[in-house]
């Protein structure tokens, strides 16, 4: 923060060159912000305009002829809520399992005395270099009978070796004395992990929770390969049908005449984007302070 104060002081005796320079910096920044925010505002505005205005290309920034018809149509469509509910389930259960198992992997690996430390480290690290590839993984998962089971969205993506490494170095940074003291007083490793180690690395776990939750919420690949039952499909599969495969399923449920349908196709799609993006838009600003820590965790001293 002090570095910024030092820069700020400069502003008081800024030369003409500095003023021009800052103008360029601001133009660049404003362009960057507009590029990131405008597409979402546009999508929202189209969602809330009348079909006619959208069709005539009148919507550029703000909604024209405020109209909630498209929103109502989409929110009234049952499959949206089925897939949304599935995604919330996969995200909630999946993230909890991810974090629990990441801790269970990372804690033993962080204990220097652990007799299989080296072997286990290798077991995990090797998977970051090499994998069996798509087809062998696909055969193993289907032959295990996981096809079209809800578990398939959670179990095969249980642990990310990269996140274990991050978690491990967080445990390693906790003072060894704390662990030794607890062990002398007779605490076992489960007690030490849950009561001492986990509370001490809360900031790291917050970041890992965020990463895992976003990955589970956005997971499309597992579902595309292993889920065909529409009562189990997650939101991303539903979105793909509507946004990319030109599915007319939502329009067919309503009794608008065909002319109106062609007007509202693009609107229905944009409403779906809005509905799916809202949770993320709400969460990211709340957790942004953890993001900075998160990226710093990425580089583990080797």
């Amino acid at each position: 923060m002090n570095a910024v104060k030092a820069i700020r002081k400069k502003e008081f005796h800024g030369s003409i060159g500095d003023i021009i320079f800052m103008a360029l910096v601001w133009i660049f920044l404003i362009f960057a912000v507009v590029a990131c925010v405008y597409p979402f505002i546009y999508v929202l505005s189209v969602s809330l305009s009348s079909g006619q205005a959208v069709n005539q290309g009148k919507v550029i920034l703000l909604p024209v002829d405020l109209n909630f018809e498209a929103l109502k149509t989409v929110l009234g469509y049952k499959q949206l809520w089925i897939s949304y509910g599935n995604t919330l389930f996969y995200t909630a259960v999946g993230t909890v399992m991810n974090v629990v198992f990441t801790c269970l992997a990372a804690y033993p690996l962080s204990r220097k005395r652990f007799c299989f430390r080296k072997q286990m480290n290798f077991l995990l690290a090797f998977t970051m270099y090499f994998s069996g590839g798509l087809i062998p993984v696909y055969i193993v998962i289907t032959k295990l009978g996981l096809y079209d089971k809800r578990m398939v969205m959670i179990v095969p993506v249980l642990i990310s070796a990269y996140n274990v490494m991050i978690c491990r170095s967080a445990f390693e940074s906790v003072s060894e004395d704390l662990f030794e003291e607890a062990a002398i007083e007779g605490a076992n490793d489960f007690y030490i992990l849950t009561k001492i180690a986990v509370p001490l690395i809360k900031p790291t776990l917050a970041v890992l929770t965020l990463y895992y939750a976003v990955a589970r919420y956005n997971d499309f690949f597992s579902a595309m390969l292993y889920i065909s039952d529409s009562s189990k499909e997650p939101l991303q599969i539903f979105l793909r049908r509507i946004l990319l495969q030109a599915s007319m399923e939502i329009m067919q449920t309503t009794n608008i005449n065909m002319g109106a349908v062609s007007q509202s196709t693009i609107q229905v799609r944009y409403v779906c984007i809005v509905v799916s993006v809202v949770p993320i838009m709400l969460v990211v600003p709340l957790v942004q302070k953890y993001l900075v820590q998160g990226t710093m965790l990425g580089a583990v001293k080797g």
């Binding site: 290309g57 204990r111 798509l134 793909r240 990226t295 001293k301 080797g302």
Partner: protein, 310 residues
């Protein structure tokens, strides 16, 4: 202490670490089943696995040696897939790598803390949006019927372009949308590095009468040079691993010429056409290349910056 532990027998060690072992057993099972068991399935690349052979068929199907590799190396796909995979990553790096650095330098020039936060958070947002939604937005924005880009082009008198069906547009679309999505997030680490520069150094340059440009050129950029080098080496490790999902969701038969990558080809051959063994062979080819590249990148990283990814 260490002398004492050396004397302990294996039995004693296992007993002492019993709780750690209980913790790690489910983890080991996970890795054996979902990572190492599939690795043994690589043997399919050398035999003729047929649909319906069951799990045992992976190991017992008829041995065909290098047949699938010869088929792949003799086909027109080898060159096209390797070229497309490499070029998508290469252009993503060339175009996508400098932007987060420029952005980080620019955003740290803003003195007002609140303004800086607002700017940063709004640029993080695209990073967290799913690939499906990003591709859906690209597809609909660029659509020749009602997409905003073509609407704007029409307004200035240019005829609609069918972007998604023209091979020459695939790489620009992929690369630009990719760096749109990630530049804000990728800038975080550079912003942190710039914030970490000692204020004394700024003061010193200030006293010497340096202007902003000189401060950036002679202080800020040299200070974040190690971070830049480290991240550059790390991204070299991903040179032959294109994100499968995004290509899969964006491409169509009209643009295979520039869009088809190794991973999508493996998917089509294996999952869609049931040529499991052939697809495994092509996948193995990709895995081996990736292994070599990641390994090399990590070695270089250790040597140059004393930091490795793991």
């Amino acid at each position: 202490m260490s002398g004492e532990s050396k004397k302990k027998s294996w039995k004693q060690l296992l007993y002492r670490d019993r709780y750690l072992l209980i913790m790690i057993i489910p983890v080991v099972i996970y890795y054996l089943v979902f990572c190492y068991l599939p690795m043994t399935g690589i043997i399919m690349a050398f035999n003729h696995y047929q649909v319906g052979s069951g799990f045992a068929g992976i190991y017992t199907s008829k041995w065909v040696g290098m047949k699938w590799f010869n088929q792949f190396f003799g086909s027109i796909y080898l060159g096209r897939l390797v070229r497309n995979t490499f070029l998508l990553q290469f252009f993503s790096l060339i175009f996508g790598f400098p932007i987060p650095i420029l952005f980080a330098v620019a955003v740290t020039q803003v003195a007002n803390k609140k303004a800086r936060k607002v700017i940063q958070v709004s640029t993080y947002l695209p990073y967290f949006i799913s690939t499906v939604v990003v591709c859906g937005m690209i597809n609909n924005f660029l659509s020749p019927s009602g997409g905003i880009i073509n609407q704007l082009l029409n307004k200035i008198g240019i005829e609609s372009i069918n972007f998604m069906n023209l091979p020459q547009w695939f790489r620009p679309i992929y690369v630009i949308s990719g760096s749109w999505q990630s530049f804000g997030f990728n800038s975080i680490i550079f912003v942190a590095a710039i914030m970490g520069i000692s204020p004394d150094l700024y003061e010193a340059m200030d006293v010497d009468g340096a202007n902003r440009r000189q401060i950036i050129w002679h202080l800020v950029l040299p200070s974040i040079r190690p971070t830049i080098i480290l991240l550059l080496i790390m991204s070299l490790g991903t040179m032959m691993s294109v994100g499968f999902e995004k290509v899969y969701l964006l491409y169509n038969t009209a643009v295979y010429e520039t869009a088809d990558v190794i991973q999508t080809y493996v998917y089509r051959q294996g999952i869609q056409s049931n040529n499991y063994s052939y697809a495994t062979a092509v996948g193995l080819f990709n895995s081996v290349i990736n292994f070599v590249i990641v390994f090399a990148a990590n070695k270089i990283s250790r040597r140059v910056t004393d930091t490795a990814i793991w």
